[in-house]
């Protein structure tokens, strides 16, 4: 039986994850080790609770009326939701085409995964960290070549408005100039919904 470990389900999110009422579902498991990660629980594969797609669907459909009325649905985050492609595909088969499914993702996954999931999801929220590979590596411990090529593909392949790219000011890792450079490059790549924000360190 297909299962995934989920450490959080947050209902009734308004304006944060898309246009309508959304439920955020966060998976354990992430390829990155970001210095200021707010969800370090996601690194521990023993935390949270195991769900089948059916269990998750039964739990979140409590808000189906709100989803249908406002063009909302489920945002999958984590952790890295694109590591759970089979689970999300099964979930889509259960919820049908009307719910909006959004990935809150780093895009640091193989291209084949992005290509396969693009037909399943409605939108993306991508925290790009920093376009500069050195800054990205220092902050996450990983390279960002896949991130940039995956992002460029989803921006060019379909409506770029379905992709919100978030560009953080990361204290002690990038400067305002670095962020400006990232934004400029992202615009050249075809990004239209680009949002700057500042990480809050706790």
């Amino acid at each position: 039986m297909m299962k995934a470990r989920i450490f959080g389900i947050d209902r009734h999110r308004l304006t944060t994850d898309g246009d309508g009422v959304t439920t955020l579902v966060t998976f354990n498991g992430c390829p990155l080790r970001c210095k200021y990660c707010l969800n370090k629980t996601s690194w521990d594969m023993t935390k949270g609770r195991e769900y089948t797609p059916e269990m998750l669907y039964e739990e979140v459909k409590i808000d189906q009326l709100y989803f249908l009325a406002t063009h909302g649905g489920v945002t999958f985050g984590g952790g890295e939701p694109l590591l759970q492609k089979e689970f999300i595909k099964a979930f889509r088969a259960l919820c049908g085409p009307q719910w909006q499914i959004v990935m809150e993702t780093s895009l640091n996954v193989p291209f084949e995964v992005v290509q396969e999931m693009d037909a399943v999801v409605n939108g993306y929220i991508v925290d790009i960290k920093d376009v500069n590979p050195d800054i990205y590596f220092a902050y996450t411990g990983k390279e960002n070549a896949l991130v940039l090529s995956n992002l460029e593909w989803i921006l060019r392949h379909g409506d770029a408005n379905r992709v919100r790219v978030r560009v953080p000011h990361i204290p002690e890792f990038n400067t305002d100039d670095d962020v400006a450079k990232s934004v400029e490059i992202l615009k050249r790549m075809g990004g239209v919904d680009i949002e700057e924000f500042t990480y809050v360190i706790r």
Partner: protein
């Protein structure tokens, strides 16, 4: 206005509009609870279940449910709520403990909802006697 109250107000407005679009009689009593809430409560959830039952009834009679596609921006304006409710995109998630970890003491009261249905799935709280939902005549 506190975040939970704002969420409650918006969700209530959505319920009212669903009812209006589908000719369902729904009388929503003004909430008198003074403190902040989680944005929903057993009474609000009961209204949602009532709407679902009424829509199913209509569907059995061959009437399709109508969802005109409400804009949250319009709803924020209609309810005089601030446009942006700060919610973390990640972090601060209501943590779901593994069943082996699940004791009342291990769940921080400020990170999980008071009502059991959030953790347990579709478990309906009993409808209070004072529920002010008038069934259709």
């Amino acid at each position: 206005m506190a975040k939970g109250k704002q969420t409650c107000k918006i969700l209530k407005e959505i319920r009212k509009q669903i009812a209006a679009e589908n000719d369902i009689k729904l009388v929503v009593e003004e909430c008198t609870y003074q403190g902040d809430c989680k944005g929903t409560c057993p009474k609000c959830e009961a209204e949602v279940r009532y709407l679902e039952r009424e829509l199913e009834k209509r569907q059995r009679m061959g009437k399709a449910a109508v969802f005109a596609g409400m804009s949250l921006g319009t709803l924020f304006a209609a309810t005089s709520c601030d446009r942006i409710i700060p919610q973390p995109l990640e972090g601060d998630m209501p943590y779901i403990p593994d069943s082996t970890e699940m004791t009342n003491d291990s769940i921080p009261s400020d990170t999980v909802p008071d009502e059991p249905f959030l953790l347990e799935g579709d478990v309906m709280a009993p409808v209070p006697d004072t529920m002010n939902i008038e069934p259709e005549e």
